[in-house]
């Protein structure tokens, strides 16, 4: 299944009637080993670009933004339990939160893998 990417280094993958969101491999490499992750409470409605989750390295906390408008459904229990799973497989098993899109047409404003790779330069 293809991924949609943001300029803030999140990715989104559609899974049935919802989506999962994570950080890109590039972002995971930049942040280093993660020690903590949490999503905003289930049911939190966010606009694109608003904080939907937080990951923390030894050094700093980093906000994870909603790629598009929607509602936070839940955090990935595996990464809440052990945030290093994000670093281990950032674009796969290390997804951070499940999300319900309220305006799926906004996906057309995100990048595909080729565009994101070009964006990284």
């Amino acid at each position: 299944m293809s991924l949609y990417y943001t300029k803030e280094h999140e990715w989104l993958r559609i899974e049935g009637d919802s989506a999962v969101v994570g950080i890109t491999r590039h972002a995971a490499n930049e942040l280093g080993e993660l020690v903590f992750a949490e999503a905003r409470p289930a049911g939190t409605v966010v606009k694109a670009g608003e904080t939907a989750a937080v990951v923390e390295s030894v050094k700093a906390a980093s906000d994870i933004y909603a790629p598009v408008d929607g509602e936070v459904l839940d955090a990935n229990p595996a990464v809440v339990d052990d945030a290093s799973r994000i670093s281990a497989d950032p674009e796969g098993e290390g997804w951070i939160f499940r999300f319900r899109l309220s305006a799926p047409e906004q996906l057309s404003g995100l990048m595909d893998a080729a565009a994101y790779t070009a964006f990284l330069g």
């Binding site: 280093g32 020690v35 903590f36 949490e38 923390e56 030894v58 050094k59 700093a60």
Partner: protein, 381 residues
């Protein structure tokens, strides 16, 4: 700030060659971390030996114009609350430059070595400290900023045997001893001290020989390069203050729980009591106490509580009792750790408080510092 405008230490090209991620720090391009990452570098230092470049710190030599080192020591005592005149040759002491309000302008290490006093100051405060010393000490002392020397730190339980293999005389040094030693052909000033809570050394080396010495040290078994990221998590677990975070111009040494660094001779009734900026305030605080104290804090759960977070009496977050000044994840503790100031009535180990994190309360327990037992070599054997 672009990296081009930043100052470089003599080890800049070595950092780059080792794959460091360079970041701006106090006007210098410094290694945040190397390929292993902060967590691994932190653990390496606690279990083996880490090599740090701290050449951005200021090294200053004071010499009495009279030729008598006591005159330089007495002059410096006018700026700091520590006993400097009583410092034996070959010994080092931690102290602070204070202001008239008893606040801290910077913290520093002072060494007496023969007729010289050697001072190591923080990079971010270097220019102000040097101006401060010139303004107050120039009548009695000549002041030389040792721009041509790098400063390396070798820290960790293997540091002693690693350095002894290159300079056998370090085997006799105890915590806070200082010696001039030839290491791999370089004329070094070595102190058995550091900023990690581990046994280890800080090595002042001529800039031209710094990279060769660093490469020699890195070639020893068990030695790895360590960046500023792990330096911060190591000092936090060790309960050591970061200037600008845990101490600053608004915190006194007594509020900061640094009164151990004010010797009896400088306290009320001592042979050279007071005589430093803010002495009336600081000496009164030593006898009467302060309204707030720096403490260690163990947040519950896994979420790091960082500098700036408010501290409250309980989870309602209704009654403020202080503020976190540094915090993060402690790789050796394997949990979040923090330091901050709380009302003195709450400054007892075991006291429960709450920190505000993203709008909610995180229960925290006041904890005696350090979080990790110190590995200093205080006695021979």
């Amino acid at each position: 700030m672009s990296t081009e405008s930043l100052l470089h230490t003599p080890l800049f090209s070595l950092h780059t060659a080792l794959g460091a991620r360079m970041v701006p720090f106090a006007g210098y391009a410094m290694p945040l971390q190397y390929a292993e990452g902060i967590m691994a570098e932190h653990r390496h230092t606690r279990t083996q030996a880490g090599l740090f470049d701290v050449s951005h710190m200021g090294q200053v030599r004071l010499r009495a114009r009279s030729g008598a080192v006591r005159d330089a020591a007495l002059a410096l005592e006018q700026l700091v609350p520590a006993d400097i005149a009583g410092l034996a040759s070959g010994r080092q002491r931690y102290t602070q430059f204070t202001n008239a309000q008893g606040g801290i302008l910077d913290d520093l290490m002072v060494t007496r070595l023969g007729d010289d006093l050697l001072v190591v100051i923080n990079a971010a405060c270097k220019a102000a400290d040097i101006a401060h010393m010139r303004a107050h000490l120039s009548d009695t002392c000549t002041l030389d900023v040792l721009e041509d020397r790098a400063l390396l730190a070798l820290q960790g339980p293997l540091a002693g045997q690693v350095l002894a293999a290159l300079a056998p005389a370090v085997a006799d040094m105890l915590f806070m001893d200082v010696r001039t030693l030839d290491i791999a052909g370089a004329a070094c000033v070595v102190s058995r001290s550091g900023y990690t809570g581990e046994d280890g050394f800080e090595i002042s080396v001529p800039a031209a020989q710094a990279e060769a010495l660093a490469r020699t040290l890195l070639a020893q078994p068990g030695v790895a390069p360590i960046g500023l990221g792990a330096r911060d998590s190591l000092r936090l677990e060790a309960g050591l203050c970061l200037y600008g975070a845990d101490i600053d111009e608004t915190t006194t040494p007594v509020e900061a729980a640094l009164e151990w660094s004010i010797q009896k001779s400088r306290r009320a009734g001592g042979v050279r009591a007071g005589g430093f900026p803010g002495a009336e305030i600081i000496l009164a605080q030593l006898s009467e106490g302060t309204a707030r104290r720096r403490v260690g804090l163990l947040p519950e759960g896994r979420a790091p509580v960082r500098g700036g977070a408010g501290l409250f009496a309980d989870a309602t977050l209704a009654s403020p009792v202080g503020k976190v000044t540094s915090g993060g994840f402690g790789p050796t503790v394997d949990a979040p750790v923090a330091m901050g100031y709380v009302s003195t009535a709450l400054a007892q180990p075991g006291q429960a408080v709450a920190a505000e994190l993203r709008g909610r309360a995180v229960p925290c327990t006041v904890q005696a510092l350090p979080f990790v037992p110190a590995g200093f070599r205080r006695t021979a054997g």
